[in-house]
Amino acid sequence: MQVTRSPKTYDVCIIGSGAAGGTAAKVLTDGGLSVALLEAGPALVPERDYKEHVWPYDLPHRGAGEGARLRRAIGDEFMAPNGAWEIEGEPYVSAPGSSFRWFRSRIVGGRTNHWGRIALRMAPVDFKVRTHDGMGDDWPISYEDVAPYYDKVESYIGVFGTKENIPSAPDGIFLPPPKPRCTETIVKKACDKLGVLCIPSRLAILTKPHNGRAACHYCAQCGRGCITASNFSSSQVMIPPAEKTGRFALITGAMARELVVGKDGKVAAVSYIDKATKTERRIHARAFIVAASTCESARLLLNSKSTLFPDGLANTSGAVGRNLMDTVGSSGVGYFPQLERMPAHNHDGVGGMHMYLPWWKFDRKNEFLRGYHTEFGGGRGMPGTGEFDRLCDDFEGYGSALKQECKKKYGTYIGFAGRGEMIPNENCYCEIDPSAVDQWGIPVLRFHWKWGENEIKMAKDMQETYRAITEAAGGTYVTSKEPDGSHPYGISDGGVIIHEVGAVRMGDHPATSVLNGYCQAHDVKNLFVTDGACFVTNADKNPTLTIMALTWRASEYLLDQAKKGNLGA
């Protein structure tokens, strides 16, 4: 096969255009470096690709997709494009006895196109867990190291929230929050009775015009992508300023296959498959930022074998693929009769919760280590397919009585979703499958997964909490989760919360970690991995904000190295 070599050597080549890749592209091009960015998917054109404000009846499948296969699925027809649990021609494998699900997005902006916009800072204690409770490992960096970069990211992207002084949930630089919806007013009242913290949420959605972007127009459809860019996505907020510098080359349809090491032990080039022509090409650069998403980044390193690195690039520690974590998820639903008496009103709001429950039991000894936060929502949202499944099964029958019951119960349910910290364990990792390849000929990942006891106890606590809140509000908790079986207390399968992190972790010791505190490989100085893969722990904070802060910090470090002439020829 002929390999087409680009004649140019870029200062930096970034692999992946999501939260990490987009942030690196913005900061590095701002700093004057030339950047090539490889994205495995196509370009994103919001005015063509978004289905914002489309009604279900505008689509023949009413949002449920061909054959209604997306009915009740996270990736329904309305969602911003190209996010899916399965990608045709690009499989992955779960090892026998393991059940892991991997949500991938092949498009400029990656999963930031449809993420929940929940932008939470990790707390000081989250960086020093081993010191605090003896489990897992401390990060090589502290909250104080990252805080200035949280400031920079929040100031740039815009995050709403309120100052609360809660130790488990540090305050940031916030735009004002939107007013609570009825569901949130009711839950807040119940939480106050129980001594559970319930505060305005922290979402990367603009409640005021910000940095040239319009304020939110409260249609509740962030997951569909926002035509006015009033929420954060890498594709609309990070990539455009990089493009504007004239120092940025965005290469779409480029599936990175291998990082090629030179005789000096540094990465010299990335080999990628140009999907359109199915030919192999190379990009040369002085430094490389791998930001392909946690598991893709691990996969790329493991597939980059050489005489210097027979077990995969920068993997002398053997830690690549290990320490894989997701978030502990368990959810439930309550019925709130007072909502039946609410007059019809606009309940939409922003595309996500206006309030949430940060971890509130940080000041006491619990049956499990670490903590969880709770996201909740419900009420009079835009009706969708599957909306009345439960009611149909419970009420049965047919006719006007059924029709009236649907109207009566519409908007009276509130769902709670716990998001807790998982402690990494040796049974959770990914590796290269010995036989399977994808359609580009690239060996695929095989996942191993087993929750620990701490996670199960946490899921139990979530269920008890959601029942207590529902009952304190005079409602009925309708979820029932068994304490045993394949999903004790409703704990989700690995990967399902889409917070996978940790497979290329940072640390002080090259024997047990891959990267230093600047996301720079111990073994290969011109290689950085700045996506969720670099995480040491997975606090109960959705990882995106921290990914961006760590990437911003690593990028400034890289700029500084470039100024000092340490980038090489």
Partner: protein
Amino acid sequence: MTVSRRDILKSLTLTAVTGSVLRVIPLEAAEYAHRMVREEKAAAQGQIYAPKFFSAHFYKTLQSLCQSIIPSDADAKGAIEAGAPEFIDLITSENKEYQLALGGGLMWLDNTCLDRYGKTYIDCPAEQQKEILDLIAYRKNAKMDSSLGPGVDFFALLRKFTADGYFTSEIGIAYLGYIGNTYLQEFPGCPPVPEDKA
């Protein structure tokens, strides 16, 4: 003058704030584009739907069942007017599992009506239709008479799909009283919650 959605979107792209690095489109213009989608859709309506999966006989049966599940009444029009049978036919034509469950279910219903009443469901008088529906609309009946099991399962699935089709329609959404999917300058928050009854 006919202006297509494509023309609108194209002009929106061109008129996006010059010099901005972001694709910011004036709200009113974007709203106009969305209205165009609906108007195009409305223009395509009024034609008679040709079923993709069900034969004329079974489609007629499907329509009748959908309308029984969510009828037209004094409050709002029913499942047929809301396009539920079209939606169900479309997804069934694309999904083998549903073809078996709904196609087989409709045949089970006819077979059962032939055995009981000597006629297919659609040819039965209203009282007999009600009699069989009252049997298959509740799980408890299958517990007493296991021969009703396939009918109960079929009807439970059809009830969900009918609810899908109905409550995602313009008629169904208006009936529920959903208000939104619009552009607001400010989110008004919650109107006063009626006090809990003691």
